[in-house]
Symmetry: C2
Subunit: 220 residues, 2 copies
């Protein structure tokens, strides 16, 4: 988003005063005063601190970071994995699959994000892992909903046609997979979600493909 601002505003845009808030924070729950923790990110850590002090309360805890690119990418890429989590649920899979999907999903989000300039620790933080969990476990998520309908056998266009809100993860999947190919980054889950959404791949076969890849050591 900061790059979009720069494109649109040009020299009027001051990146050092730009602060991005991200993390697990469904608005419906923030409004109800349910405990929420997020991160304030800015290339200028003092700007992040300023917002952190201004907005923190006993029901809304803020952390700060200077890893703007990592925070922005985490908030975006997690929607690809949310679609995958929905597909898994639509296929009737359970909590074991969900735990593995989010863990391996975060590995490939981090892989792309670090390559693009983010810090690995950010992806393990509130705007990465935290937002990923909340989005993938929540019934409120539109991206997860799209995936679930796909997993049950419906077609993408039919699902999107009847939705009033935007499921941005569909477009993010196309962008993420294009970036992964351009930068030569291994993203097997994003690849399968892309094949299912845009190339009519069978979700069950995609799952088997993921499970039967070359056996690996866990880290790396």
């Amino acid at each position: 988003m900061s790059e979009v601002f720069q494109d649109v505003w040009g020299s009027k845009f001051n990146l050092n005063q730009y602060v991005c808030l991200s993390g697990p924070s469904h608005a419906e729950e923030v409004v109800r005063g349910l405990p929420t923790s997020i991160v304030a990110a800015s290339t200028n850590i003092n700007s992040a601190h300023q917002v952190q002090k201004l907005m923190s309360s006993e029901r809304f805890r803020m952390y700060s970071t200077d890893d703007l690119i990592g925070v922005e990418l985490g908030g975006s890429l997690k929607n690809v994995i949310a679609i995958a989590a929905g597909i898994s649920a639509g296929l009737g899979f359970g909590d074991n699959t969900l735990g593995a999907l989010l863990t391996r999903g975060l590995v490939e989000m981090s892989r792309l994000g670090v390559h693009l300039g983010g810090q690995v620790g950010t992806f393990s933080g509130l705007s990465g892992m935290g937002d990923l969990i909340t989005t993938c476990c929540s019934q409120h998520s539109r991206n997860r909903y799209v995936g679930e309908q796909i997993g049950k056998g419906r077609k993408l266009q039919d699902i999107l046609d009847e939705m009033l809100m935007v499921a941005e993860g569909v477009k993010t999947t196309a962008s993420a997979w294009a970036l992964a190919q351009r930068e030569n980054i291994e993203m097997p889950i994003a690849h399968q979600v892309h094949s299912i959404l845009f190339e009519d791949a069978d979700p069950m076969q995609a799952t088997i493909d993921l499970m039967t890849r070359k056996l690996k050591v866990e880290i790396g």
Copy 2:
């Protein structure tokens, strides 16, 4: 567990042939053939590879690692956070709180685990983050159940008295907090769970205490 084996078996125990399987794997779901991914850990990576090749299938994917201590600690410490997740649900909190709790919970699990010799990447893996998510999101988890009942205002002994199965996280909380104090490791969530379980602290006040700690940068 490997240390317990060593204590009990003494010189008959060969650590290099010992392999620990851990990760998000409710037995009920493995039996039904739902896709499950776990990690095989051994101080001798060849032993881990042997088990990995032997047991992997298209519904059961195994990774390998030589970080035995990290895998064993992750599988144990996650139960403390599962109790916290249950308390949060029992208090009526939502997905935002869950996402934050798991993220910051994993930070303090890693902090203690790395201090005790584990690798930080292991805690972001299947036996750390993966198992944490599956346990904390699942209705099957006995540790989460204990927390939920506590959050609803019941007393620990009453809950344990009526349970047929063991909620090991209660004992793990005592151990984890003792270790944290002995090694001088910051574990605010484990501390609050300990206060609630064993010192009759009020769960709502404990939450406010967690939310109003000194404001921090996210990493570290």
